[in-house]
């Protein structure tokens, strides 16, 4: 069976580099899946979850926006930050969510877009971490 090489790099270091069979990620225009032999594609990534399947095992990653370059044999993900589902700091995400919600409630002097995306990041992290644990 043909394989894909998936590389996830962030400014804080590489997060993943290995062979997989299928990758699903959240592009800015919606979810997309990649199988070996995919047509070349460059896309921006939204805050979301990336899953990589290898045989029966699927690993999940939290992706904090970025870019993906897809080729027939390789998926290169350049993320602003990324974490493996297992290494998400759930407590930190929960407190980040509370902070963002608090800020959005008192609407004055708030950078709305920034807070909004902070909230989205926190919620996505929490969802992924809980799904992974539960």
């Amino acid at each position: 069976m043909e394989k894909l090489i998936l590389e996830i790099v962030t400014p804080y270091g590489p997060v993943f580099n290995g062979q997989v069979e299928e990758v699903t990620a959240r592009g800015s225009e919606g979810e997309f899946g990649v199988l070996p032999g995919h047509a070349p594609l460059v896309t921006t990534l939204a805050i979301g979850i990336l899953s990589a399947r290898e045989g029966q095992n699927t690993s999940y990653f939290f992706i904090n926006s970025g870019y993906a370059e897809v080729g027939p044999e390789r998926v290169l993900v350049l993320a602003d930050s990324a974490e493996k589902a297992e290494s998400i700091d759930l407590e930190r995400a929960i407190s980040a969510k509370k902070r963002a919600e608090e800020l959005l409630r008192h609407k004055e002097n708030v950078d709305y877009a920034k807070t909004e995306s902070a909230l989205e990041r926190a919620v996505t992290r929490i969802n992924l971490a809980e799904r992974h644990r539960g």
Binding site: P11, Y12, F32
Partner: protein, 291 residues
Amino acid sequence: MATLRDIRRRIKAVKNTSQITKAMKMVAASKLRRTQGRMLDMRPYADKMYEVITTLGRFGDVELHPLLAKRPRGKVEVLVITSDRGLCGAFNTNILRAANNHVKELEAESFKVSISAVGRKADDYYRRRSIPLRAHWAGLSGKIRYQHAQEIAASLSEGYIDGTFDEVLLIYNEFKSVIAQKVVVKRLLPFASPESGQPHSDTLEMPGFTFEPEASAVYASLIPKAVEIEIYRALLESQTSEEAARMSAMENASKSAEEMIQRLTLVANKVRQATITRELMDIVGGVEALK
């Protein structure tokens, strides 16, 4: 001739100095470890980013973003990255000398050169020579954040797009190893033209890329980001080099102090013996006289 007390006082002073340089060396070493880690984490990301840009340059349309557009060189902007603090050996001298030479070369070819700088040392240097700086950032040493890179990138990109200059060069210290830092001159803008990329021989028949959202939107977000990353990387490289340079400078200073203490101790011993001998002779002379 110096008295014993003077010499002892000097030994004490040198000892104090060497204690300070030793402490500074330790501090530099721990800072070095930290920034080096950040820089090494950063490198693969920057490399991959560059790879994507070069591939896009080969298959995409260069006209898609103003920062990729090549113009005839006329006005050149030079960004010099130095440190805020001294006591790091020839670190700043090297970079400023290299910058100076480069600027002279460019001017000899009748380009109009403007300079912007990072770090207090560059500011001092150019102020002393009354060379005006187009822009200047300071206070970054030890606390480089991505935002700093964004700020600098914004200023440079803006100047490039509105035609204040037609090319941007970065001059900074690249970290090779703890004992070797190399001054590099790198072209930042126009960003990575396709000719400069190494051709990927195996992907020549690759069809054009699909973009999602459309190409112009991807370029509009990717290119400025790549410029920021390039600057961020240069800042981290420079910071790491600075701490490495400081560490070896302090190491050398501690060594010299050690040598000096040894030499002074020798002198002190000689003076002490001479004094004892003289006193003994006085006593012996006195005894002789009483006989």
